[in-house]
Amino acid sequence: MDYTAFIRPEYVLMLLFAGALITYFAGKYSSMARYSLSLLFSGLALLMVALLYGKNTLSVWTPSITPNGISMYVGTNPLTWFFAIILASLSFLTIMYSIPIMKGKRMENWFYTLTLLLMGSMLGVVFSSDLLSFFIFWEMMTLSSYLLVTLAGKRSDKAALNYMILSTMGAYSMLTGITMLYVHFGTTEFSLLSAQIPGTPVNFLWLSLGLVAVGFLVKSAALPFYVWAAPAYSEAPDGFTPLFSGALSKLGAYGLFLFMYVIVGMSALIGMGSFRGVSSFGYAIALLGSITAFIATLYAIREDDIKRLLAYSSVSQVGYILMGLGIGTSLSVAGSLYHALNHALFKTVLFMGAGAIIQLTGTRKMSEMGGLATRMPITFLTMLISIFSLAAIPMTSGFGSKWLIYEAAINKGFVFIAPLAFVASVGSFLYSFRLLQAVFLGQLPDGLKDAKDPSLLVTIPMIALTSITVLFAIVPGVPLGAIASAESYMGIQPIQVDSLFYFRIGNSFGAYNALVVMTILLFAMLVAMIMFAFAGSKSKKVDQHDTYLSGEIYEHHSDLGLHYAANFYRPIERMFEPYLRLRLERTYDAFGRGYELLSEGIRRVYSGDVQTYVYYVIGFLGMLIILAGWWW
């Protein structure tokens, strides 16, 4: 039998949706079936997505219920595949990781069903090739992720509601934009749309693209809309957060790629107005991205909750992706896509490690942990390498992507974006070291004396992702090859990759030779190790309490706190506190309250307990309708 005929995106989706259903019913009776089935379906889907490499397909399905013959298109192309492989592999690994982590948690069965559903809808978003199916899958994804967040129980309800309301707001905005496009062009298929775009009035493009972009910015938690991210990421079940942050947040960027470069296209985008050869729309996105990266970093520095810290870090890193995306040059788009990949790799590991540690210690407060490095060496090493990648240290693949983005920004002379991004990157050393210090270094509390690494099902995904991070540090050409074909699909000049060696990226402006850097690092490592091992005498291990206490005797003081973890960056927080007090949440709250006052009459009709945010959504919706009506 020629099974290659089944390697088509629509079959992947069908497999996953059917799988979700089967897993639900099978899982009701046997937990073993639940685990094996969900692993099977996601693994199979991953395999199929992997085999889609290099294919370009497009299938049409015209449902009979649609009134005026709107068809749904599903297909694959290099850009799609790039995102699909990230999403599919992360989903598979997360399901694997969840088996020990989610064991015995609330609504465990629903978790696997919803995760498979989410995987299907995420892949659906990237595979869909028309506006309608795109929107439908998008909403399915939002809904399933919302439900996943609520699984954690009561305390996650408010966070989930925040997430849902902002997502709904984005969805309305997106829907309006999509409707405008459909009404104007009379088609929903992407290639047909992009063929008609040239010559469209600029104002119309600005409005429709802007409306659509709001939906994507909400999903990627960019600056005005990031308020949902920290609570939702931190309150979501530990099994879901890696996927939430690693995969889901990339879809906003994917949407922007799709609409900006595939549908509207580079030349039309530049036609909308440009700034130093970069489209104004893209510049706005890039600016937003860099400010997001900066502000979220400042928030992350303040956090003591490990998941909230990683959540703000996610927001900040997605800011980098938006930055590269917006600048829109060959280098920057490559950097942006590469960073999406890197972020998926390292942030997933970090959230996985965080989940494992939370399960071990029973707390999310970093200041209550400590000294775990020697007890959990695998978790420590994988997280350490991921943090190096996050901080863009040149022995991990995280450096390559940030380097590309900086080069692009500097090349274009963006003197606002580049320093902001750079300082945000320095800030990321601060918060990532804080995580290391508070969780893995310092003094081991007595309660954690017999802590050890989590089970293989947890460590294998982490090790797998980490080894990819290290591998890509040496051969950045491998992912960049895939990225180059995605770039050429989007009509952007593909980044030049030395196809033979895959090591050197660069142009006349600057260069980065991964192999040389890695070789020298290894050489220096060898020198230092030899120096360390052979010069001087062997060292003796001492107890953690046998430390310099200014000569004081440890045993004389029963209640000593020696683990420096709480309020770690107090001096810098003190500097930023006055500015950070203007939190965006408060603005939203104020807006909501103002609206509440205005709609005193409506309030009488409703019977009371309605969230302020809901008013905001209603108001926003009304505003959109008025806007759209005025345009037509």
């Binding site: 003796k540 046998d546 310099y548 000569g551 004081e552 005797i553 440890y554 045993e555 004389h556």
Partner: protein, 192 residues
Amino acid sequence: MVDEKEKIVSEDMGVQVDKKEDIEMRSFGTIKRWATKRSLWMVHYCTGCGGIELAPLMTSRYDMERFGMHPMVTPRQSDLLLITGYVNIKTLKRIIRTYEQMPDPKYVVAFGSCPINGGPYWDSHVTINHLDKYLPVDIYIAGCMPRPQSIVKAFDDLMDMIQEGKADGYLRYKKYYDKYKANQEKIFRKWW
């Protein structure tokens, strides 16, 4: 706190022989001892009145940085422990803790009459009269207070002793570790 193996010390210290250290001594010993004597870092610890004469010693008039000596903050980084005067029981505990945190080779210099036999505080209820019952001392400086010149002379002698391999206080501490510990326990009642 000392391993069994480390108690064995080399022959030119006048005690037992350990093969490995013996070889080390012969090969690079001279250079190592020269480097050690020319770079004595002392613990920043003023235990008594004698600390006041360290200040002139460190500053422009006597400038002991000429000999490569300067104060280091933590015992982990230091080679030289100065007992600058009388030693009270409470301080002795901290001195011993500090001494044990220092890496080998380490040297102890005791200032003034008080660590020798109690000095003017010979009948005080808190000052121990003979420091060498609890810690091995390499060099005593008599006088109250010893003048900077005599301290410089003592350091000079200590350097000679290091070069000749005679400054063996830390080896003696290892050799008689049990006895030292027993004495310390007797005096502290509650150890740590």
